[in-house]
């Protein structure tokens, strides 16, 4: 295709909800009143919220128009590094909307919730098998919630040993949520610098690991898309001092069937079902962040646990060492259900999922490495990280490249992350993309690099095609306007 994929088209302006409608309209079918009104103490009664009154069609058009201003995975390639924007199968939505599941009350007696309990039990088993960490809780509602649960387990484990610890080691390539999760559990985070090849060095960990340190949080593959090849030595060092190893499984999509996470010394791992297991990202959640642990740490998992007695599934609260509950009920069941559907659909093909995700990333890396600066030129996992070093010579920055990609019909990669690389462009294509789509993306990136030489201002002025152009984020933060 010679033309850019992005083009202009007719999209609509649309006011805010409360600038529309007229008092007395309704967009919802209200049940008939079949009982008398009952009085209520006037001191308790309010005026009711000032919501606009809209007709059903008003609401439909409003949100249809708004949706057209968005870009999703269904719109095109969304190579947002570290977020694993793979295809979200339509059938999963069908399964989540079956009335028996969608309408189920969480406090139904066990005899009336066997299907949901069986689903969670089997999902725990599959996630245990994929990670090699057999004890699983599906309760955490998001990746960061899984991290928090992991840190609660760290704290509970050391407390149970009789010696609470105060610090956690966190490499500079970690996700930003890692230090925040550790801090919520009262730990001080201690930074560990990665080595010149972008991976952790055992000696850096040995220097910092002591008997007041609860353990280490490692993202593997790390946020540079590299496999932490010293992981076993690092784990041994941490274990020798009585610490635990936390694995941030955000990047699990690279190593399914390739690495058994339990075997490489990781004690606790969280998974992001909205990344590796295809559940929709929803414009920012809901996700799910199950936690997988070694048999030794099983007693500390959140309650209730989903267990099986003979042919009956039930909820078990009887774990005195448990960290407790992290969610009002059992977690984001609707998301667990979608991940379960995905696992049954993919089945024995999970190794291929990882192989093709890694193949796609390496293909992009090889084909773009002459055009963009590659700070770590070694085989990558499921994502590759470039920088804007070559384009900076023409006063074109990562931000300009990202914005120009929109005009080409692509969602930009993750930018300026990881922090250890200046001007980072972090590309994660996922296994969902075909070779043709990757070739189109590569062509677009090359055209942009050429434009950086020929017409830097064309890039500074991009994007041209979306509904709005670059927005003033400084003004938004200086004088926050957070409601209308």
């Amino acid at each position: 295709m010679k033309d850019k994929m992005g083009t202009t088209g007719l999209i609509f302006n649309e006011p805010l909800l409360w600038e529309k409608g007229s008092p007395g309209r309704k967009g919802l079918s209200l049940p008939r009143r079949d009982v008398d009104e009952t009085p209520l103490d006037a001191a308790l009664v309010g005026d009711g919220p000032d919501f606009p009154d809209l007709s059903e069609l008003d609401v439909v058009r409003h949100f249809t128009k708004l949706s057209q201003w968005n870009f999703g995975v269904d719109s095109g390639m969304y190579p947002l590094g570290s977020c694993t924007m793979k295809y979200n199968p339509k059938t999963n939505e069908r399964q989540a909307s079956i009335p028996g599941f969608a309408g189920a009350h969480p406090l139904l007696p066990e005899s009336l919730s066997q299907g949901a309990l069986e689903l969670m039990y089997d999902l725990q088993g599959y996630l245990g098998e994929i990670t090699g960490l057999p004890a699983v809780s599906v309760q955490p509602a998001a990746g960061s919630h899984g991290e928090l649960t992991g840190m609660l387990i760290f704290a509970a484990y050391h407390k149970n040993k009789g010696k609470p610890r105060t610090k956690v080691l966190i490499p500079d390539t970690a996700h930003g949520t890692n230090p925040a999760s550790a801090a919520l559990c009262g730990f001080t985070s201690v930074g560990v610098k990665s080595g010149p090849d972008g991976v952790l060095l055992p000696e850096s960990v040995a220097e910092l690991m002591d008997e007041d340190t609860a353990g280490i949080m490692i993202t593997n593959p790390n946020t540079l898309g590299l496999f932490e090849d010293n992981i076993r030595q690092v784990a041994d060092i941490v274990h020798q001092k009585g610490g635990l190893v936390y694995g941030d499984g955000a990047n699990m999509n690279a190593v399914m069937g390739i690495v058994n996470i339990g075997d490489i010394g990781v004690d606790v791992l969280h998974l992001n079902l909205h990344k590796t297991f295809s559940t929709p990202h929803g414009g920012g959640g809901p996700g799910a962040g199950p936690v997988c642990v070694t048999p030794e740490l099983e007693p500390f998992l959140p309650v209730p646990r989903v267990v099986k007695d003979g042919d009956i599934y039930r909820l078990d609260e009887d774990y005195p060492l448990s960290v407790g509950k992290v969610h009002a009920f059992y977690g984001n069941f609707g998301i667990l259900l979608r991940a379960y559907s995905y696992i049954l659909s993919v089945g024995t093909y999970f190794k291929e999922v990882s192989q093709y995700a890694v193949l796609n990333a390496n293909y992009i890396k090889e084909r773009l490495k002459g055009t963009y600066h590659l700070p770590y030129d070694r085989p990558c996992m499921h994502e590759c990280v470039f920088t804007d070093k070559h384009q900076q010579e023409h006063h074109v920055a990562t931000l300009d490249i990202a914005k120009r990609l929109m005009d080409h019909g692509f969602h930009p990669p993750t930018i300026y992350f990881p922090l250890v690389v200046s001007g980072a462009i972090m590309i994660e294509p996922t296994e969902s993309e075909s070779k043709e789509t990757l070739d189109q993306f590569i062509d677009a990136m090359k055209q942009i690099a050429q434009e950086a030489v020929d017409c830097p201002d064309c890039l500074h002025e991009s994007p041209q095609f979306p509904k709005v152009r670059r927005l003033d984020e400084t003004a938004a933060a200086r004088n926050p306007c957070l409601k209308g």
């Binding site: 009143r33 308790l44 995975v73 066997q114 407790g324 696992i343 993919v346 024995t348």
Partner: protein, 444 residues
């Protein structure tokens, strides 16, 4: 496998470009000692049609509407969800997008969440609302941690009639922190007893829930005054049934500093307890100590109005361990559903719907009282209430279950001293006829 587009030819061509002999060679950077030796033990993939059959079969075992009539609330409510909400949410531009880091191509999500923030502040009578938390329980825990940040005090008080499962989550969040959570007792009227507040020392925050777990409407105005006797203490109002605020005086109007709760009632399927929606709002002066993401209004280069993520300096990717919370992605699509629901029901509609919920619940309450089964509490209630059966109710409950009626929640596991009490809930989805059929069995 239909989700994988790679043909043999594609793979060969790509491997050649990469310079790897085969797919295994792509993983050469992984030391042999880290390689998985045995294959994963996973089932053979099933077809879309087999999956449909399997899932339908599993779901058939669930005691859910429309096959069952469920008189159970307790933090998860069966309300009608308009078809437009279900279908509009399936606009894949909404549900297959992620956090709007690139605002130029995310204005749909951004304007929707800005509208969500606005409608939530109007519902709760507060100044600012965030883009959502995981659920009502974690929202409450984060609110209490926020009161500690805001006041630099070390102790919070939580009413014993806040949802028991929310209190358990608060306990989990507080366990490793060294901060203290004390419990406020319940009065004989079913409302929180605040008479001992002055003896508790310096409190960072005091949390009540209204309607509370027993369905009782707290006297928030009086509570706010009592709590603010200590000017530094923050008044936190929780809720599990936001629909109540279509009728009741808002937390903000009663002096709340933070209002937070579960938003599932607004267009989100119960789905066995999640995903729900943690609604979270506060007074303006606390905006920078709030957890969670915020959307703000701004302009683009041509002066056109647009929306962006803002005040990110509170967040973990910038402040790392000094962030106000570790929460980043939240429940965006659930917040979107709630926005669509609030738009569809409207100001006039929410008032009517709220009243109908209360009036139908009152009808059941009065019918049971007529049969001699009264509530132990005198405080007014919204759409759920406690009823006492001194002679036991388990057999009748079981008999009703045979008729596919789930007649409320037994309170014994949550309040051991109330072993003869059940919590009953009636929403607009339960008609007078269905209520009558429950009552008929009870008076037998």
């Amino acid at each position: 496998m239909r989700y994988l587009p790679h043909t043999k030819e594609d793979i060969q061509e790509m491997l050649q470009v990469v310079g790897a002999a085969d797919l295994d060679a792509l993983f050469s950077s992984i030391p042999d000692e880290c390689r998985r030796k045995e294959a994963m033990n996973l089932p053979d993939p099933i077809t879309e049609w087999e999956l449909n059959g399997h899932m339908d079969c599993m779901a058939a075992s669930m005691g859910a509407p429309p096959f069952y009539k469920v008189f159970m609330g307790a933090g998860s409510y069966h309300h009608y969800i308009p078809e437009i909400t279900r279908q509009l949410l399936l606009r894949s531009e909404f549900f297959t997008a992620y956090t709007p880091y690139q605002p130029e191509i995310s204005q749909g999500t951004l304007q929707t969440i800005y509208e969500y923030q606005t409608l939530v502040t109007r519902l709760l009578g507060m100044d600012v609302a965030n883009a959502s938390m995981y659920d009502g329980a974690s929202g409450l825990a984060e609110a209490l941690l926020m009161t500690i940040r805001a006041t630099r005090r070390k102790k919070v008080a939580v009413s014993r009639v806040v949802h028991p499962l929310y209190r358990q989550v608060v306990k989990t969040y507080f366990a490793p922190t060294g901060f203290e959570v004390v419990e406020l007792p319940v009065g004989t009227d079913g409302r929180t007893d605040l008479s001992g507040l002055a003896d508790l020392g310096e409190l960072a925050g005091v949390a009540l829930q209204s309607p509370n777990f027993f369905g009782c409407i707290e006297d928030l105005e009086a509570a706010g005054k009592a709590i603010h006797t200590d000017k530094k203490t923050l008044f936190v109002v929780g809720f599990s049934e936001p629909l109540a605020y279509g009728l009741l005086k808002s937390p903000g109007a009663c002096g709340a500093d933070i209002a937070c709760g579960e938003g599932q009632s607004f267009g989100i399927p119960q789905s066995f307890g999640g995903p729900g929606l943690g609604m979270f709002a506060a007074k303006q002066k606390y905006v920078r100590t709030m957890p969670g993401r915020l959307i703000g209004k701004t302009t683009d280069r041509d002066g056109k109005t647009g929306f962006v993520l803002t005040l990110a300096t509170r967040e973990q990717h910038i402040r790392r361990e000094k962030a106000t919370s570790n929460i980043c992605s939240n429940q965006g699509l659930c917040a979107t559903a709630a926005t669509m629901y609030m738009a569809a029901v409207g100001g006039t509609g929410i008032r009517e719907l709220s009243r109908l919920n209360r009036d139908r619940a009152e009808y059941l309450k009065a019918s049971l009282a007529k049969a001699g089964h009264t509530s132990p509490f005198s405080a007014p209630t919204f759409n759920e209430f406690v009823v006492r059966f001194p002679d036991g109710f388990a057999d009748t409950w079981q008999a009703l279950l045979e008729k596919k009626i789930v007649a409320g929640l037994h309170l014994a596991p949550y309040y051991p001293e109330m072993s003869d009490c059940w919590l009953m809930c009636v929403t607009e989805t339960i008609s007078k006829n269905t209520i009558d059929s429950l009552v008929k069995e009870v008076v037998k």
